[in-house]
Subunit: 342 residues, 2 copies
């Protein structure tokens, strides 16, 4: 049921049944090291190129999910997936061996939320019973495609974020218990004129602000109603901008906010400057860490808003700025009538 311009709440809620995650070596040395299913010791993952390694990340993470969930390909109605590589090539080579109908998405680093959002809409609407959502990013393939090849040895600016090498996968099902996806707020494309490829957090924060302020106003909920308000990969700088922007609207999220890009690395010890980013940032942190917190009751009710910088190097050379988007999900460990006025 639509309850506002951007927000849908579900009469019948999809369940997040199981998740899986894989990360690279550096992410496996960070604060969340113990939370991931697989930590690579070589970011080439036995492949000859970074692009092939990224594709393997996504494929192996999806396979790990099916193994953990004791589910076969034939029992999955749809895969919804995408990634940062041109033409989402990480995804297409990952899923071509799966005998599962596929819906390709492009939401840059918002893909984990976009895929779970569309999947929960399809499940709630009776179009599917089971959907697999997966995404990935790879530091080396992203630097090469969006900024400079690593061999160039470019100096990273203080605002630069570190693209996470990692993948997250989530299996959504109907009638499978908590945690539930209670609702979703669909983002609009927001462009505030940022054109610095080393400051993605600043480009994305206004999109997160747009989506979260719509979520609060359309649902009539407050930051205090949630145990956690999680953003995808704003990092340290973007997170501060977001909290300040929402505060000016009267939404004080400071005590409840965290960001996957702040959580996955120890910014000082690991020299990652602005924090983590990439589709795999929200993907691995949500699927590796947050899902467990929802299952064990440490988090009862939360928002996850993954943010995507819809950035294209050619467009920037042509004088364009960086549009961004954020999609948000409201997730709860019980289906207690919250949002339904019970």
């Amino acid at each position: 049921m639509r309850i506002g311009r951007q927000t849908v709440i579900f009469d019948k809620c999809a369940s997040i049944f199981e998740t899986a995650s894989t990360v690279g070596k550096k992410e496996g040395e960070g604060p969340l090291a113990e939370k991931f299913d697989t930590v690579l010791d070589d970011d080439y993952y036995g492949e000859e190129t970074w692009e092939k390694a990224e594709s393997k990340l996504q494929k192996k993470t999806a396979e790990k999910l099916m193994e953990k969930a004791h589910i076969k390909e034939s029992e999955i109605d749809f895969i919804l997936a995408g990634d940062l590589l041109n033409q989402c090539v990480g995804t297409h080579y990952a899923v071509r061996d799966f005998d599962i109908p596929f819906l390709g998405l492009y939401g840059a680093c918002s893909t984990m939320a976009e895929s779970m959002m569309i999947a929960s809409m399809l499940i709630s609407g009776g179009m599917a019973n089971t959907a697999l959502c997966v995404t990935s990013s790879h530091f080396c393939s992203a630097e090469k495609q969006y900024r400079f090849p690593l061999e160039y040895g470019g100096q990273r600016t203080p605002t630069a974020q570190w693209t996470v090498t990692g993948a997250g996968a989530a299996l959504l099902k109907s009638d499978a218990g908590a945690p539930y996806i209670l609702g979703a707020t669909v983002g609009k494309v927001i462009d505030m004129g940022i054109n610095d490829v080393s400051n993605m957090g600043a480009a994305m924060a206004p999109a997160a602000h747009s989506t979260l302020s719509a979520l609060f106003s359309e649902t009539g909920t407050k930051p205090g109603d949630y145990d956690l308000i999680l953003t995808g990969d704003l990092g340290h700088i973007g997170s501060d901008i977001l909290c300040d922007m929402l505060d000016k609207d009267g939404y004080n999220i400071y005590p409840k906010h965290n960001d996957c890009g702040k959580m996955i690395f120890d910014a000082k010890k690991q020299d990652v400057h602005g924090g983590g980013s990439g589709c795999g940032c929200c993907g691995s942190v949500f699927c590796g860490h947050i899902f467990k917190e929802l299952k064990n009751g440490n988090i009862k009710r939360m928002i996850v808003a993954a943010t995507g910088a819809l950035m294209n190097p050619t467009a920037l050379l042509q004088g364009e700025s960086i549009p961004a988007i954020a999609h948000a999900l409201i997730i709860s460990s019980d289906d207690d009538g919250f949002l339904k006025g019970d």
Copy 2:
């Protein structure tokens, strides 16, 4: 309601309420010239780059659609869109000025069908009442990104297809009369090992075969049940491959099949070799021509299966082949119980 591994039929069908189309100069000299809302006389469209021209194509076509449908941005629940440019940049710069929630898709040249398919699922499931689907392609931006810059003056091979400069946009609504989207068959990613960037038709035909044979077997319908079985941009070579492949399965589509890539150009007079291709091929032909045929009763019941080559030049240089996908919609000028066993 799912009636098979890949096919959903809708209890409540979305209507295709209105469409709009824009094409470039060459497309405006082809057999369908009179069918399009706008024909450009300059493929730069007053912009300084081809990428900006493509983005403007998509934006202006969406605006034309809103004008024709007498609908305001505030009445549209979602835009679903994507294109061929890296990071779908044609789309993002087109939609950033619209105050409409956005779902970004990547399905390469299958995007017109993918967007209408997901939109019809969201409308049927009660998640939206009105959705705008739009996509585009541009010959010059596509050649530059996927093959050679035009200035290089490369010789085109006999199998090469000509990327359509054009855009198509469709407005889907609930409870808005014929034509209706009765059902959809979601494609799988199929890769038969083709790695020739100048033979997209051969790469995509097996995906169209996979989806259409699933559609026929899961719905229990035959080619003879349809007035038209339309593919997106297989062109002359891919169309022949598809018809032959389906014939071996016992589905004779020869008398009912046509392909947007064969229809939009006069292959001999216009020197386009394999025919048209690109997201804008199915987009402009379906939205410019086919929709009118459905409205005036010349087509009563049809399938449109748009095909996408999920091709990435970097992956090909790394020795990969070209995966492909096709998504199919069953469209009818009346909601007469076909597919529901009435």
